[in-house]
Symmetry: C2
Subunit: 348 residues, 2 copies
């Protein structure tokens, strides 16, 4: 790093584009490369893609390897897939070029539970090349793990933790509404579940594993239930479709962390078009009890973009290796000008 943080963006879907815009609003960061495989955007200037009205001099390429061999970068933001096996090649490519990595890959937020060996491999590779790798976002990465973990910090005893994310999906991206089955009949929803086309929210298992590891709890198992449809009681009009009464307004995903036979970590992810009050709530049964609520909730896309950008200086200043949110200092909003973080290594 000289006087700015050089960033490569890998994955320029809706979230990747919002991350790009967020980075462009800050001083002290520069986008030095942009990668995507979608044919309709390869070859476009990033400024054009983001509809900024001026070119940025960064052209979207589908050849990440070639880009990385030619461009010097401090960090890569990978916003491509949810499953670690799909994202691993991209992560390894960056690490081998000594580029730090933050990814929205849900499974990377706490990969030790599902992929203990692959996690060790990433950790060793990152240490060898002196870079840090983090998976994060709003959920997993923040609302259902980092925040409840932080809240346990005020407890002398913790018996159980319940986290509820209650979202109104009708205002979200159309692709998201489609993904959760909005407008389907109950039969169609069941069919989509059986075919694996509607899936459980990726990240609940990772959040439970992260909470348990932080608290030093050895779980019997982590149980993930198939998503349940939430049916509309009246007709609902969303930005995507009209949901008939009795049809699917959205879904509810639940996962349990079981300890000594009891569900001690309960995560509920509820997202449908009929939600009247959005919120994110954490309840801790312990001493003292904690009943915390973010009234209105945190917008998923805005929050994910925020967490990703806010963790950039923390990752650049962390020890090399694979890290998760629990290992890093408190998350916090980055200032308008990231240059203040450039000398952290010396003072921190």
């Amino acid at each position: 790093m000289e006087n700015e943080i050089k960033v490569i963006l890998i994955g320029l879907g809706p979230i990747g584009r919002q991350i790009a815009k967020g980075i462009l609003e800050k001083k002290g960061m520069r986008i030095v490369g942009a990668v995507d495989i979608a044919e309709d955007i390869v070859g476009k200037d990033l400024g054009e893609l983001l509809e900024l009205g001026k070119p940025l001099g960064v052209v979207v390429t589908n050849d990440a390897e070639r880009l990385i061999s030619r461009v010097k970068a401090d960090i890569a933001i990978i916003a491509t897939k949810s499953y670690l096996k799909d994202v691993y090649p991209q992560i390894a490519l960056c690490i081998k070029a000594s580029i730090n990595v933050i990814s929205t890959c849900e499974e990377l937020s706490y990969p030790y539970y599902k992929y203990p060996e692959l996690s060790s491999e990433i950790d060793e590779l990152a240490k060898k090349h002196g870079v840090t790798v983090l998976g994060t976002g709003i959920n997993p990465g923040y609302l259902m793990d980092t925040l409840p973990i932080t809240l346990t910090g005020a407890c002398q005893k913790v018996k159980s933790i319940k986290v509820t994310r209650m979202m109104n999906s009708s205002k979200r991206r159309i692709s998201y509404q489609k993904k959760i089955g909005t407008g389907l009949s109950p039969e169609e929803f069941r069919g989509m579940i059986d075919e694996g086309k509607i899936r459980v929210h990726v990240g609940l298992v990772e959040s439970i594993a992260m909470i348990a590891a932080t608290l030093g709890w050895k779980l019997d198992e982590i149980k993930e239930f198939p998503p349940e449809p939430v049916l509309a009681e009246r007709e609902i009009t969303t930005s995507y479709t009209i949901v008939k009464p009795g049809h699917v307004a959205g879904l509810k995903s639940v996962a349990h962390g079981i300890r000594d036979g009891k569900p001690v970590i309960v995560l509920e992810f509820i997202s449908h078009a009929a939600v009247e009050e959005e919120y994110d709530a954490v309840s801790i049964d312990g001493a003292p009890e904690i009943h915390e609520k973010i009234v209105g909730g945190v917008h998923g896309d805005l929050g994910t973009v925020a967490v990703i950008i806010n963790m950039i200086p923390k990752v650049l200043n962390a020890k090399p290796g694979l890290v998760t949110m629990k290992d890093l200092p408190l998350p916090s909003a980055v200032t308008e000008d990231l240059r203040i973080y450039l000398n952290w290594k010396k003072t921190f």
Copy 2:
């Protein structure tokens, strides 16, 4: 550290005693020394002092220096005074004996603002002796700094932050109710303010300075207002006294962090006997906005004891030097058995 964390307690007032009890409930920690200057408890066994019904083999001494020269300890918990100048000699004594320190000293929670030189001195001394020093508690240390900082982690932009701690003092310790002027006439209250007998809540300035430093905000100034009395509208009976209508039910302390002429960090500490709904609330004006609330609030004493004990493993595993909550990994409740943390240094 061998197979347990050895703790010396300095200060055995109400909070110190609760910390002692909290430590005794955990496996993997052992109290190896107890210090206090109160004549009525010096020479008593700690078990007797805590009314455990059995001796602990740890006798309260008023000679910290002698104790430390004879007993090997990993960490000292100092719960004596609010002002850093009063606590500094105790901190220095521990550091020079290579003992890590956590203190409830409010001014130590973020000492760089009021005491830049003394902070450097503590930092250098701690580094020289390879130990870590932290000031923390529920407030300052958690509710009005750590938690709001963590919440900004989900924001792309932060314009301003308001934190309100709304406490019902009628259930608190009698010494605390007295300290905030409960039962006084308004004239008596003003007199106590003028004489410096009722003081502003120590820690608001430190919390503001910590938030600003974390966000990279350069403040024009931190403004602390004198406490305002909150008057009872009807007669209120507390565990300490009966408050007549028009007399003081408690107080409100406010402090502002001013940036570009505007109060961008506003902390309100409200504690009186007529509070109907207790809560701790954080509102962030930014993108996205965050409106967070802990319904029922967090009990001050229980919370302070929790934060102090929960930070022990994090301090033992931190880099040497003076640290604050913003520098350490996420706070979290320690497990029932702290021995899992003993090898953190190797894995973390």
